[in-house]
């Protein structure tokens, strides 16, 4: 309860709510796309660097590898569960359902970052390598979802103008993969010493920048909801609320198996429960252009992201403490 309350009253969440309300009230205010995109790159560099520096402090053991494999497995597995649930409960078409499923197997970096703050506020410690796990969980879900679609020989004849390898390029070298993994490696190479001189930019202002970014996310989520909610039936909206919980439980099981410490477990659970709204949408436009973006964007950014940020985080921390006690 205390954690829930503290989360809800953090400036971070309040700025998100401010943006959400402004957009729902039809305010025309906006944060320029170029500025928000710049901040997003800053945030990814920052967590990459911090994760890398943490990793440079300890040798990586077998436990780390096991958690990484768990993350990858989750990212592969969750879209299959998600797809089955969507087809069973909602009226979404195959392609739409697969596209949505890809989002829920993949992850949201901002949710991960917010979890990091909440976990820290709850007095738990986390390991740097979870950033690597986050980066590794971005892509498998996309492959998994495409396999679902193409399984029944439904592979489109190639789309006009498409180049070989363009999807791999987009998926493996998108901004978040490049910046996260790149910064992680740089942090790991340069260690605490290299970090010292750049900490006044990458460490100290981090939480403030996050507030500004979440204001923008609130605006986007609110506008997405206003434009797109009519496309979502109650079954689909329901999915956006219960799917994170299913993912969280599966991840909690793996955390238990891997005997992860509570802070790390909370992060893994959050990664599983979070859904992508930047990298996967872009990939879906290339790979499954017929899937309707308004459905997966509205669901992921308008329903699941706020749910995770406001209600999910305290829950996942509680769950993590439960399974690691």
């Amino acid at each position: 309860m205390d954690i829930a309350f503290a989360t809800l009253l953090s400036p971070m969440v309040l700025f998100f709510l401010l943006g959400l309300c402004a957009a729902l009230l039809k305010s025309q205010m906006s944060i320029p796309e170029a500025f928000a995109k710049g901040l997003a790159i800053y945030l990814m560099m920052s967590i990459g660097l911090k994760g890398g520096v943490e990793m440079s402090k300890n040798a990586l053991g077998q436990d780390v590898v096991l958690v990484m494999l768990s993350g990858i497995a989750l990212s592969f597995l969750l879209p299959i569960i998600a797809f089955a649930l969507l087809r069973a409960t909602s009226r979404l078409e195959r392609t739409d359902a697969a596209a949505v499923a890809a989002h829920y197997g993949s992850i949201s970096i901002v949710t991960f970052v917010a979890a990091g703050q909440a976990v820290e506020a709850a007095g738990l410690v986390t390991s740097g390598y979870l950033v690597a796990v986050a980066a590794m969980m971005e892509v498998p879900a996309i492959i998994s979802a495409l396999m679902i679609v193409y399984r029944r020989g439904q592979k489109d004849s190639a789309i006009a103008g498409a180049e070989r390898g363009e999807l791999a390029q987009e998926v493996l070298l998108n901004a978040s993969v490049v910046v996260l993994i790149g910064s992680l490696v740089i942090g790991w190479l340069t260690g605490a010493h290299g970090m010292e001189r750049i900490a006044p930019f990458f460490v100290e202002p981090f939480q403030g920048v996050l507030c500004l970014f979440l204001l923008d996310m609130g605006l986007s989520a609110g506008r997405g909801l206003r434009n797109g909610w009519r496309l979502l039936g109650p079954a689909t909206i329901g999915f956006g609320l219960y799917m994170p919980l299913i993912s969280a439980c599966l991840a909690a099981g793996l955390a238990l198996l891997n005997r992860m410490p509570a802070g790390d477990a909370a992060l893994l659970i959050t990664l599983a429960a979070s859904s992508s709204y930047i990298a996967v949408p872009a990939a879906m436009r290339l790979a499954l252009p017929k899937a309707k973006p308004a459905i997966y964007l509205t669901l992921s950014l308008g329903i699941t992201f706020p749910f995770n940020l406001i209600i999910g985080l305290p829950l996942y921390i509680w769950l993590a403490e439960l399974v690691t006690r």
Binding site: S30, I31, E33, A36, K37, D156, I159, A160, G161, A162, E163, E166, D216, M217, L219, S220, R223, G224, N227, Y277, I278, A279, P281, A282, M284, R285, L286, P289, K290, P293, A294, L297, L301
Partner: protein
């Protein structure tokens, strides 16, 4: 002045490269891509600021070329637009340096 055709293709940003590949393959000698801010089609509004992923952004591709090259491109573009979001139109224009188009 010489008569050429002007193609205006409004298409989602993520499909820009595919569209441009088609134009180049059709023998068009040039094109220019412009950003769009917002738009409306088939009952939906989109807006650059709504969409954090920018996956929903649209661009406008303008290409001036010979009737033949535009014709060649149109068939492929029609196929592209059966998968991707977008519309196109073609008009007649005059140019000064005919060898450039």
């Amino acid at each position: 002045m010489h008569i050429r055709h002007r193609l205006e293709l409004i298409i989602e940003r993520m499909a820009t490269r595919r569209a441009c590949n088609i134009l180049e393959a059709a023998g068009l000698t040039g094109y220019t891509v412009l950003p769009a801010l917002s738009g409306y089609g088939r009952g939906n509004h989109w807006n650059r600021d709504t969409d954090l992923s920018a996956a929903g952004d649209m661009v406008v591709i303008v290409s001036v070329g010979s009737a033949g090259a535009i014709e060649t491109a149109l068939a492929q573009l029609e196929a592209l637009l059966s998968a991707h979001i977008g519309v196109l139109n073609v008009s007649e224009v005059k140019v000064l340096r005919p060898d450039r188009f």
